[in-house]
């Protein structure tokens, strides 16, 4: 029992010990657990803290991203798996003009432009069936306004926290780029189109194209070129072009061009090449280098144009032209040689008609003669104009320049026209620029001819008013002056539409002109051509019924004038010495005898005087005279008959016989010849004209040209003429004027007697006699008046004769005191 108790006691102790042991273990475990719990809680806190910090960061970054998204220049949006807009940033909402509520919830296809809709829907449907993350696609959308925009959108597939799928997209307005692309595409299409166009043009243009490399080896040939040359392409490629095609004589041209091409030069040349069948082909080759992308010349392309036919035509044309030129030359030669042959008989006809005029004629005969004279004169002018024109056209005429005194040339022209003109209601005016104080280098003869033509026209078409020749310096340069001529008239004028044709040959303003006013219609054509040769151009201004102005300008080189500054104070005089020569003067007019005699004495000639032809024949002896001056109209025996007789005498055949004539019909040496005369001198003549003529037929010593003082004459006298005629020889002038006073009463008395008897023949003779004397003292208008009386007499128009004669008497009475005063004045100057 005791053992049992002991055992139970031990058991209890063990149980208690085990319980305490378990309690301790459990306490330790509980503490461990508590500690572990504490650590867990701390860890939990830390984690929570970290999470909230992370969350804060996340929120911050989300805000940042949202701001970024909202302010992004790109359009950013989210779309649900089924295509509805979930979100869109501000710029996206603004971009297309829709309200936000119109966008959010709407399917994206709503906004896609109709033309893009199908394609876009298809694209995203295909995408949905694939595994994808990222996609970029371009399509067009419609704005609310209905405008089309192109956008490019980049889409990413995303998953929400709840596992739902959505798309986030970034899109950009690429309309500008699309436009640019479209433009580029258009441009490219246009380029392609134009390339196609030009290619087809070239292919259809009969142009053969061949390409060669730098060694001249053919690299490519085009079909047309093959057709042209008869080769096939494969026969040519790889061959040297020059060896295949070049014909003898063209190697140099080809080589030159090959070299040029290497330097990048373009060349066009014409050569003859060889076809496959050996025939020759003329081609124009236009060669151009072509380049690789670095700009190096790698070869050249030649465009060949077949000109064989054209070449043949050219050769034919050249031949035809040569033939034509030869024919023209022959024609000109013919014209030139015919010139003399035609003119000689014509001059005879004119001369003879003139002589016929001096024989007794009935009224009707006189009329016929007048018509004959007019017609033959016209024919003569026509022929000489035609010959001139053909010479100009043949280029046989070129300017021969010399130093020319324009003042002298123009003044003497006007003087001539004053005398020649038959229109007495026309005043001839010569206006010269005072700065024309030089000589100028030009062709005096051509210039003279132009001015004569223009003045003749003015004369022909002006019945009343004025004809002016104005010459002035338009511009002065270092060595040259631009000189402007103007011939102004108050004539019938020209219609505007006719101005263009008047310079055409054989054209006058209208067909009636020739009938009414005469003329050949060649004068202006000749003038214009001559002026072209001189470097000028005639310009016309005209008003119908008011008048015309013909102008031209020439740029002429200045030459030192021999009488430059002394022009106003001095006149020039060609001095000659006729020492040892004897001249016979056959002249019945005392004033002429005096005038001629004074000049001959001055120049140391000896001379005899014969009052008529009969006396001249008596005085004549072989070798006695070096020259005879023969007046034509003289009593007893006139100049024609005397000349005829003289020519039959020994020593008379070759003697120079110079006709002195007041008639204007003899204007050229040729026209004196048929009359048996050697040459002619037109009365009144200046000492210069006289000395020039004498020097032509007698060997005289030329002396220095002297300057003589020029005198101011009374305003109603022709001072210009007087200075020309007497050259400041005051003594001579006084003598001539005194002589005029002596002979005038006798001349007037004879004329008056003829008028009283109504003797028309007598009136003609007397007026012809007296006429030059007026000119010689400067009374030029009276000379013209006298001529009118003579012409009236020729027309048997007595009333005109009478009227003219009375006018003459009146004018003489006015003029005589002036002449007397001048004699006294000049005599006084002589004494001083």
């Amino acid at each position: 029992m005791n053992e049992e108790v002991e055992r139970l006691k031990r058991r209890l102790e063990r149980e208690i010990k085990a319980r305490k042991q378990a309690e301790t273990t459990l306490e330790v475990k509980a503490r461990d657990l508590f500690n572990a719990n504490e650590r867990l809680m701390q860890l939990n806190n830390e984690l929570e803290h970290q999470i909230s910090a992370r969350t804060f960061e996340l929120e911050k970054s989300e805000i940042r991203y949202r701001q970024l998204v909202e302010n992004a220049s790109d359009i950013i949006y989210n779309i649900s798996e089924t295509g509805e807009f979930l979100y869109m940033n501000a710029i996206g909402i603004k971009a297309f003009g829709y309200a936000e509520e119109e966008i959010i919830g709407a399917n994206f296809l709503t906004f896609v432009a109709p033309e893009s809709k199908e394609q876009t829907a298809k694209h995203y449907a295909e995408l949905a069936s694939e595994l994808w993350q990222n996609d970029y696609y371009e399509f067009s959308v419609l704005s609310k306004e209905g405008e089309t925009y192109w956008i490019g959108q980049s889409v990413t597939l995303n998953t929400k926290e709840n596992g739902e799928l959505f798309f986030s997209a970034i899109a950009r307005d690429i309309s500008e780029r699309k436009k640019a692309e479209a433009k580029l595409e258009d441009a490219q299409k246009a380029l392609e189109k134009s390339e196609v166009k030009y290619r087809s043009i070239i292919e259809n243009m009969d142009l053969g194209l061949m390409e060669v490399d730098l060694d001249g080896i053919i690299t490519r040939v085009y079909e047309k070129f093959n057709e042209m040359t008869g080769y096939r392409g494969d026969e040519l490629v790889g061959k040297i072009a020059k060896d295949v095609f070049t014909t003898p004589g063209y190697e140099d041209v080809v080589d030159e061009n090959i070299e040029g091409r290497k330097k990048g030069e373009i060349g066009v040349y014409e050569i003859k090449i060889r076809k496959k069948n050996g025939e020759h082909l003329w081609v124009i080759i236009s060669g151009a280098p072509f380049y690789d992308e670095k700009g190096n010349v790698i070869g050249s392309i030649g465009i060949h144009y077949d000109i064989t036919e054209r070449k043949q035509m050219q050769l034919d044309l050249e031949k035809a032209k040569r033939e034509a030129e030869e024919a023209q030359e022959a024609e000109q030669l013919f014209l030139a040689s015919m010139s003399h042959e035609i003119r000689t008989p014509l001059n005879v006809m004119i001369g003879m008609s003139h002589l016929l005029e001096d024989t007794p004629l009935s009224g009707a005969q006189s009329d016929f003669l007048s018509v004959m004279k007019t017609a033959s004169n016209m024919l003569k002018h026509l022929i000489s104009d035609i010959l001139d024109l053909s010479k100009i056209d043949a280029g046989k005429i070129s300017p021969t320049t010399s130093s020319v005194d324009l003042v002298e040339l123009c003044k003497s022209l006007i003087t001539t026209f004053k005398v020649k003109s038959e229109n007495h209601d026309v005043e001839w005016i010569c206006e010269l620029d005072s700065s024309l104080d030089h000589n100028y280098l030009t062709d005096a003869q051509m210039l003279n001819q132009v001015l004569i033509n223009l003045l003749s026209n003015a004369d022909r078409f002006t019945k009343k008013g004025q004809v002016s020749l104005k010459v002035f310096v338009a511009k002065k340069s270092e060595h040259t002056d631009l000189i402007r001529w103007e011939v102004l008239d108050t004539g019938i004028g020209i219609q505007q539409q006719d101005i263009a044709v008047i310079f055409d040959r054989y054209r006058q303003a209208n067909n009636n002109i020739s009938n009414e006013y005469g003329g050949t219609g060649l004068g202006l054509a000749i003038s214009q051509k001559l002026l072209h040769l001189l470097g000028g151009e005639i310009v016309v201004e005209s008003q119908l019924g008011i008048g015309s102005s013909f102008q031209f300008e020439l740029e002429l080189e200045r030459r030192e004038s021999t009488n430059s500054n002394a022009k106003n104070a001095f006149a020039t005089l060609n001095e000659i010495s006729g020492h040892g020569h004897k001249v016979l003067v056959v002249e019945d007019n005392k004033m002429n005898v005096k005038y001629v005699g004074a000049l001959l004495e001055k120049w140391n000639f000896e001379f005899d005087h014969a009052a008529n032809g009969k006396v001249a024949l008596e005085l004549f002896e072989p070798e006695k005279y070096a020259l005879i001056l023969m007046d034509l109209q003289m009593p007893e025996m006139d100049g024609f008959e005397a000349t005829k007789e003289l020519r039959n005498l020994p020593g008379g055949t070759d003697l120079p016989i110079i006709a002195l004539t007041a008639s204007t019909f003899i204007s050229k040496k040729e026209s004196a010849l048929p009359l048996g005369m050697t040459d002619f001198l037109c009365k009144p003549f200046t000492p210069d004209q006289f000395s020039t003529l004498l020097s032509k037929y007698i060997e005289v010593e030329d002396q220095m040209t002297t300057k003589q003082a020029v005198l101011e004459y009374h305003i109603s006298l022709d001072g210009e003429y007087l200075n020309d005629a007497y050259g400041g020889d005051l003594e001579h002038t006084v003598e001539m004027m005194s002589l005029f006073l002596d002979v005038l009463p006798d001349g007037m008395k004879r004329l008056e007697e003829s008028v009283a008897k109504e003797d028309f023949k007598g009136i003609q003779q007397q007026s012809h006699r007296i006429k030059p004397t007026f000119t010689m003292v400067g009374l030029t208008p009276l000379s013209s008046l006298t001529r009118e009386i003579g012409q009236a007499a020729k027309q048997n128009d007595f009333s005109d004769v009478e009227r003219g004669f009375r006018e003459l008497q009146r004018r003489i009475e006015e003029s005589l005191p002036i002449i007397r005063e001048e004699i006294i004045r000049i005599a006084k100057e002589l004494k001083s």
Binding site: R10, R11, R14, A18, A22, T25, L26, K29
Partner: protein, 179 residues
């Protein structure tokens, strides 16, 4: 060695031999723990060897037979305490196979200091090879547990035990079940 092994062992001894025998084997040995065991404690493994030695002397039974019987006994404790492990498996092989990879892993979670034997299993149709490795050399305890497991799953079976070394720290069990 875990306290539960000692408390279950003493419980079995009390059931089979009465508290007198418990008192006798505890008194016979100089035990560091004083013989007061609790299932949550951990005690020296040598104490179990001492207790087994004393019990063998008193009961006149081999230590191996005692260990075998203890294996069979503790199976029911395990079955009662941790039924979920058994319910998961439909076959004894399956359960045995899960000891090393599953049950011992769970044990280690609760008692990180527990010294557990290691098993290697190979199933080939109706035959299973199960190798035991443990420095405690308690393969007899394991054989009791294995036998009771196979009975629990209701298998007609045969078991062979083969020592792979002299110490008995490596032992191969071969189990065959009927077709």
């Amino acid at each position: 060695m875990k306290g539960i092994v000692f408390t279950e062992f003493l419980e079995m001894v009390e059931k089979e031999f009465g508290y007198e025998t418990i008192d006798q084997i505890l008194e016979d040995n100089e035990l560091a723990s004083g013989g007061a065991y609790t299932s949550v404690g951990t005690y020296n493994h040598a104490e179990m060897i001492d207790l087994l030695g004393s019990l063998s002397a008193i009961s006149k039974q081999e230590v191996s037979a005692l260990l075998h019987a203890f294996g069979r006994y503790i199976f029911d404790t395990f079955l009662k305490g941790y039924p979920q492990f058994f319910e998961k498996c439909a076959h004894g092989f399956e359960f045995l196979e899960s000891i090393d990879g599953h049950i011992h892993v769970e044990v280690k979670k609760l008692y990180p200091d527990a010294m557990l034997p290691r098993f290697e299993t190979t199933i080939n149709g109706t035959e299973m090879a199960m190798n035991y490795y443990s420095d405690r050399r308690f393969s007899d305890f394991a054989s009791g547990l294995i036998e009771r497991t196979m009975e629990y799953y209701g298998h007609g079976f045969s078991m062979q035990k083969e020592l792979m070394n002299q110490e008995g720290s490596e032992v191969k069990f071969t189990l065959k079940v009927a077709e």
